[in-house]
Symmetry: C2
DNA sequence: CTCGTAACCCACTAGTTAGTTACTTACTGT
DNA sequence: ACAGTAAGTAACTAACTAGTGGGTTACGAG
């Protein structure tokens, strides 16, 4: 009986607190650098609970990662791109991707960490495959629609375009620290961010726009 | 007296072996995941020597990182882009960047690791700043030359373009493991790699080409 | 030949770390 | 009301890890 009473012992809430703390810790230090005791402390939970709900440090990492992917794929679907005209829809997706990375920098670090481990945690997740397919299909439909109307050239691979849109924002933001040194500028001022997203929108539109 | 005689005790050679082993270990496991004992073993050197030459695990990481950056900046300068016409020069740089990442995947992981640590090791390196400036200047000169001749549009920011060229290859390659799952394809077959680099060259040229 | 110095090595330690054992406390269905 | 079960806790451990103490061995200058 799922009545919402205040429970001093709340399994769901404890689980959620652990997951949230783990996300922060894994994002800040990577899988190898993260400390299980630190996660338990930040979650204000006993370490035993962490093992009770997630089995192991890696099990916890897997849960964090899966949630992170499901979250971004969910948010993308809410954009309702098929209600917009193709160019507008594409710009919306480019800006969304950028804004999402900016608002959720942990996502970037988690993905980096998972790739350092050759995606062995994500590989096991069936749910990720389902939402990923929907994501690629969305881009495929958008490109087709744009080509039919004549604003996009035909033959653009939706996978390559998705990778490119992600790359343009992702690289700039994950490598903002070394980037600041190499390029001798603060890449995170409001002006710098504004300039970059405008550049990215321009790059993507020039890439798909029908040749005159 | 720098005579090249075969030395059973060769400080320079031992130092170099440690550096090479460290590069592999740090690239494979990150700064946090790397094991000092493993580095010493792989280098066929005593751990004491590692501390003798590099002071600490972090000192060693800093040396590895600095060398990695100097290497890529060196290789770029050898391209002699000013001997080529602008479009050819730009394509050469895009292809070089891609090939370099493919041939030196450790570079990508090291940069990721350094960004996880907010670039605190690179920040201290004066030599990196010198070669970085030369790198950005090279792109600035190329864009100017192309604009003067009329093949590139003017007003393209060399820093944004450098970031973009790096991003297009870097993202695809570092995230090849999660990418393979999300996009349900092997991103590393010869055909997939060929398709991607062609796409990247196309993307960059469309971006800078003078509007008709 | 021999002495000073730099290269090199083994074995240890102090502190962490993921994971566990053995328990108490509160909630729920009957 | 109470028995069974799930939530929660504290203290422990076995393995590991960065760093060092205290040497020995080879080389080359005089």
């Amino acid at each position: 009986m799922a009545v919402t009473k205040s429970r001093p012992r709340d399994a769901e809430a404890t689980r959620a607190r652990i997951l949230k703390a783990a996300k922060a810790e894994f994002a800040a230090n990577g899988l190898g650098g993260a400390r299980v005791d630190e996660i338990a402390a930040k979650a204000d939970a006993n370490k035993r609970m962490l093992y009770h709900y997630f089995g192991s440090k890696e099990g916890l990492f897997k849960a964090v990662l899966e949630e992170a992917y499901l979250d971004i794929r969910d948010a993308e679907q809410e954009l309702q791109l098929d209600h917009l005209d193709p160019e507008e829809a594409l710009e919306t997706l480019v800006r969304f991707t950028w804004d999402y990375y900016l608002a959720n920098p942990e996502f970037l670090t988690l993905v980096n960490s998972e790739n350092l481990h050759k995606a062995r945690h994500l590989k096991e997740s069936e749910r990720i495959k389902v939402v990923s397919r929907r994501f690629v299909d969305m881009m495929g439909a958008l490109l087709d629609r744009g080509a039919r109307v004549g604003v996009f050239r035909s033959g653009v691979d939706p996978v390559q375009l998705n990778i490119t849109i992600a790359a343009l924002g992702y690289y700039y933001l994950t490598n903002r620290f070394t980037g600041a040194i190499v390029f001798e500028r603060d890449l995170m001022t409001p002006e710098a961010l504004e300039e970059r997203i405008a550049f990215n929108v321009d790059t993507v539109l020039r890439l798909v726009r029908a040749d005159p």
